[in-house]
Each structure stands twice: as C-alpha cells, then as structure tokens.
Symmetry: C2
Subunit: 382 residues, 2 copies
Amino acid sequence: MREVAVIGVGMTKFGELWGKSMRDIFVEAALKSIQNAGVDRIDSMYVGSMSSGLFVGQEHLGAVMADYLGMNPIPATRVESACASGGVAFRSAYFEVASGNSDIVLAGGVEKMTDGADVTDALATAADQEYEVYQGVTFPGLYAMIANAHMHQYKTKREQIAAVAVKNHKNGANNPNAQFRGEITLDQVLNSTLVADPLRLLDCSPVSDGGAAVILCSMDIAKKFKGTPIRIKATAQASDTIALHSRKSLTSLAAVSVAAAKAYKSAGITPKDINFAEVHDCFTIAEIVVSEDLGFFEKGKGGPAVEKGFTSLGGKIPINTSGGLKSKGHPVGATGIAQIIEVYEQLTGQAGKRQVKNAKIGLAQNMGGSGASCVINILEAL
Amino acid sequence: MREVAVIGVGMTKFGELWGKSMRDIFVEAALKSIQNAGVDRIDSMYVGSMSSGLFVGQEHLGAVMADYLGMNPIPATRVESACASGGVAFRSAYFEVASGNSDIVLAGGVEKMTDGADVTDALATAADQEYEVYQGVTFPGLYAMIANAHMHQYKTKREQIAAVAVKNHKNGANNPNAQFRGEITLDQVLNSTLVADPLRLLDCSPVSDGGAAVILCSMDIAKKFKGTPIRIKATAQASDTIALHSRKSLTSLAAVSVAAAKAYKSAGITPKDINFAEVHDCFTIAEIVVSEDLGFFEKGKGGPAVEKGFTSLGGKIPINTSGGLKSKGHPVGATGIAQIIEVYEQLTGQAGKRQVKNAKIGLAQNMGGSGASCVINILEAL
C-alpha cells in the first residue's frame, strides 16, 4: 500500500445555514480544501452524507456535487454509514489513493438538516427501523439507556456526564466554525430541559447544517503542493449489531474497541502514544464510553477523567478540542471529515487558542447509530 | 495495484418479493455468493443501495446487513450512486483489495421497492431535484427526451427502439432469476400503454425487489478457494451534469464514453475485443445510446444494429444476455452487481441457454440517473 497524506482542509461554519442550499454548503467546503491544498486537479471524490434523500429529497449526491463543484467528468461517489458517513468517505478515498488508482482525491461530507424534514424521524433510520424505531425508540432514548447502564455499573455520576458538555462548549468557544460559541455551566446542563432521563437538552448535540472536505494525496507527490502534508498513519473500521438490545454489554461499544485495536496495531502504537483525540460525542455519555473503549482510560474511569480535567485542553489527553459534536455542531455526514480537519489543524499548529502543545499524533473516532459502525483514523505530523 | 479476481456470485430472483424483507433479500444473495466462492471468511463488505431511506425507512445499511449476515465486527459500508450504486459498490470493494488492505471482500447490492413507498418519487431523487423534479420531470420523461432527440438526429426508428425490449425479453426467458420470463412481440411493445412519448410501458424496466452479491479476492490467493477466479481487467467511473438540460448533447452520454475510454485504456483493449456486454437498459433507448457510446457501433447506428440482430445472442456483440434491466428486473441498488454476475456466469460457461460462445472478455456498464454517473467494469477469463 502506498503511503497517503492529507494536504489540505476546508469547512463551512456549522449551524442553521438557512441562506445556503446543500449544494452551496458542500461546494464552499470543497473549494476551501482545494485552495488550502493548492492542488490544480482532483482525480476522484467521495461525499459522505447520511440521509440526503430524507432530509432534502436528493440522492445521487456524488454526481450532484461533482457537477456543482465544476469537476465533471471525475468519478464521484456517495458513501453512507449514518453519522459515520464522513469517516467512511475519508477511508474510501484513502483506499483509492493507497491502491495507486488515483493520486489526489477529495473526501467530503455534508448534511442539510434544518430545511423542514422531520429530523428525529430521519435520524432514527440509523437505528434498527424494524426492531427499535417502530417500537418508539429514538436516539436520545438509546443513549439514555447507555447512560443509565454506565451510571449503574460504574457509579458514574450525573455531574461527570454533564462535565463533558461544559468542557466541549469551552473548547468550541474558541472555534470560529462552531455552531455554539457560548460557554455553559454545570448547573445549566443539569437544569436544562429533560429529553430522555438522565440526558437533558445540553447533553445532546444539535441539529446542524454544514460541510467539510479534505484533500488526500499520495505521499510520493505530497510535497509538491502548497498544503502541509500530514501522514495517515492508520485507518480502521468495524461494525456491531444495529440494535442496542442485541449487544452483550450496554456500557461498552464493541465496534469502537475492535476498530481501535486494529488501528493501533496497524500504526504500531498504543493509546498512550495518542496526544489528542476527536471523538463522537453525539451525546455527552458517548464521549465517556468511547474514551474508555479507545483505551485512554480503564472501563468505568471515563467519568472521573472528565471531572479531573484529564480530557481538557492542557490535560493528559485532550478530547474534542474543536468543541466536539456538542458545541461545534453535528451535520451528520460532515462530522467525520470535520474531526479530521481538527486533527489536521492541531498537527499543523493552526488551532489557535485550541492548540494542543507538542501535538504529533492525533486520532479521530467517528461512529454511526448507537455504535453499530465506527471508523477510526490516526494522523501523524511528518 | 494488486490484481483482483471475482471468485463467487449469488443473487435472489428479481421481482415482487412480498414475502421477503430487504434484509432477507440481501442475506440470501450474500450467503449464496459466499457458498459459491467457498470462502470461510470475509474481511470487509460494501452494500450498494440507492434509496433505502425513502423506500423502507432504513439507512445505515452496511451495519444492518453485516449484522443480519452474522458478520460483525467486519467493516461494512453502504455506497450510493443512484442506479449505479451496485457498480460503485463493486469498484469500492475492488480498491480495498487492490490496495492490499483486505484479501476477501463482499460487494453486494439490494433494493426493496415494492413495499409501499412512492417509487416514482423516490427514483426521481436520482435526477436534479431542484431544477428537474420540482418542474415535474420524472425518469420516463427524461429518457423520452433522449429518445426523441435520437430519432430526430439519427433517424432512429421507433421499431428499432422497441426491438431492444423484444430481444431482452427473449434472453430473459432463459434466465431463471428474471422478473419477466415471457417473450414479447414488437407489436406488443408498440401498442402497450403510452408512458412518455415515444416510450411505452414495455420500453420501461420494472419496479423490482432483489439482491445480488459477489466475492472479490486478491489474485494471489484466488485459486485456494472453490470458486473459479475471473480477472477484473479494468474498472472506470465518470460523472456528468446531474440535469439533462445542462449537457452539450441529448443523444450521447459523456459519462459513458469517458468511463469507456478509461476502461479500454486501462485494460489495453478496444471495443472490438469485448465479446459481450451487460448494459444499463433502464429504458430501451438507453441501450441503444449506450451501445454507441461504448464504441460498439458508430453514433446513430445503434438502432439499426438491434434491428439487424447484431446485439442478439449469436450476433456480433451480444448485449444483455441476462435479459437486462428490462426483463430481468431493476432493483436499482442490486442492478450493477447482477450485471457482474451475468458476466461472471458467461465467462465461467455457466449461462446455460444464454451462453455466449467463446466468451473471454465481458463488460458491465452501470449508470445512475439520466447518465450523471457511470461505472464500467471489464472482466476476463483466466
């Protein structure tokens, strides 16, 4: 396999982008990434999107976006893995470059969620429609079950879960692309509207519009372009049962631990070598469970770790310096790519007030549904 | 790039499979392909599906199918390129094996279209929703415009277009998996219900349920398994404007000619070296236009070629020996994989009454929308 680098990134602001269509959003992000990389061509492109059919009535998204980007006749493919669609788009682009078929490939992600569709209904198609959704379960309910189980099994405190939101909003306040840039307090999280006990409104990532794109390039030629090359050290993906009730455990996500083990093995490193991580905090509890399943903390120690500041900027292993899904926003198909962008900006020293000191190796963990799919990408500064 | 082979195939019967869910259908096809190849593991899988969200309210299809196939925790990714989703799934699987990341990968496609969704509405999301569909155009209308332009520019006769349906039903009568196994006459096509002038009911492929899967394997180890290895000689993909009105020509599909040129170059062959082809006859006129853009006939000669029997079984270049989308059925996500299956069965001499004599090199051409995306795969007997 050829070595592959990321050489440029671009994203829109995440939020309620009512003045921009899905096409506008994707093209804005893609053009920024092309300009950032300084490439004069793209050989192929991948678009991650979870449910453009249900959100805006448009499938065939690869072709639509290649057209609006002015890139016809290059190959353009849409990939979907629910909220992990962006991560999977990145991985697909990686394979095309690693195989030697193409040298420069764009991996993008986009979602337009605020245009009037029934968002909860559309998002629920990432769960088991036949055995979960028809019975009335939606995602806040699924993650609330995980939270309750974790609190029961490991004595994780409600305040520790809420502390994830406080930390991520603090980080997001320094991210110009974040949907919510206001800091929040523990009391505000604990007293926000109840959504699915114990999760409250400020435990949940928002409904967002947004696009993100990165340029992948064969390492052989990466230094020819303006953009700083960052090595893709490992990519790994795993699946789990679609329904939460089919799992052996509610407090551990097997797709995360399996993908992590593969990624670490492929990179020849251990969790201790990771300097910082972007993880999939669709709900606050998810960040805690994932931080354990990635091996950053023992099972059950994820809650105390947040409380002690281990995952804060300046802590042992800063998590979600971008603000995470919680504060930066969660346009589902774009999220996995936006995570890669934060890792890239950290590794190239461009993260401003969010900068992790001596950042050499960063990890991005993107997840679909209640953890039925997970993609992990590890990037390393040259 | 490593050489990659197809070593096994499997599909369901195409048709109105009211007794089977989307999951049942995919799993049936996938298990058949695994058994046919004789593999004892799969490293990863891809699922092509156009619009499972709109058809049956289920996204996250990679994870759903890996789960129901009993394959957790392998990576499972859904890819979408409208009616070319199957072809793109095959190509994605190809890259993963060619890159060296995985040795044995399943590429499948599935669609469940007869479960009550508004099929015309869902299919229209493959066209330009904002500039075509909102104005009232659906796919029969788009292909009718292509047919009218071709008849005007090249004097293509209505009877020549209808002859595609007659030929394909004749082939499909010998395909046990075909949705329609009855032969039809030219008069029946010409007198069937008018859909969008000049296209009539028997010019249109049907609404279908169905699944198809193939097993790709690194050529190095392909001979270890029970299934006969067939070389993937080339894969190419191209895009075009999503809207028909943006194209320079209505009578030529640029994504087809661009992908074909790439595929021939990559394979080191010319159209004359192709012994037979499966092409995307979503409407009869599409087969004529595509047979020209693939270089089998000069522009404008595709109509007369059908009439003269050049594309019939036993002719110069048999096209759609499987019955094509017209007679075999068109569960959109499965179609591209089913085309590969026909090519595989021909190249391994298993096509029975449909067998092309001395079949050494076969081509599969899969297309999305009104030609905004196209995937071409060329396979060769060892």
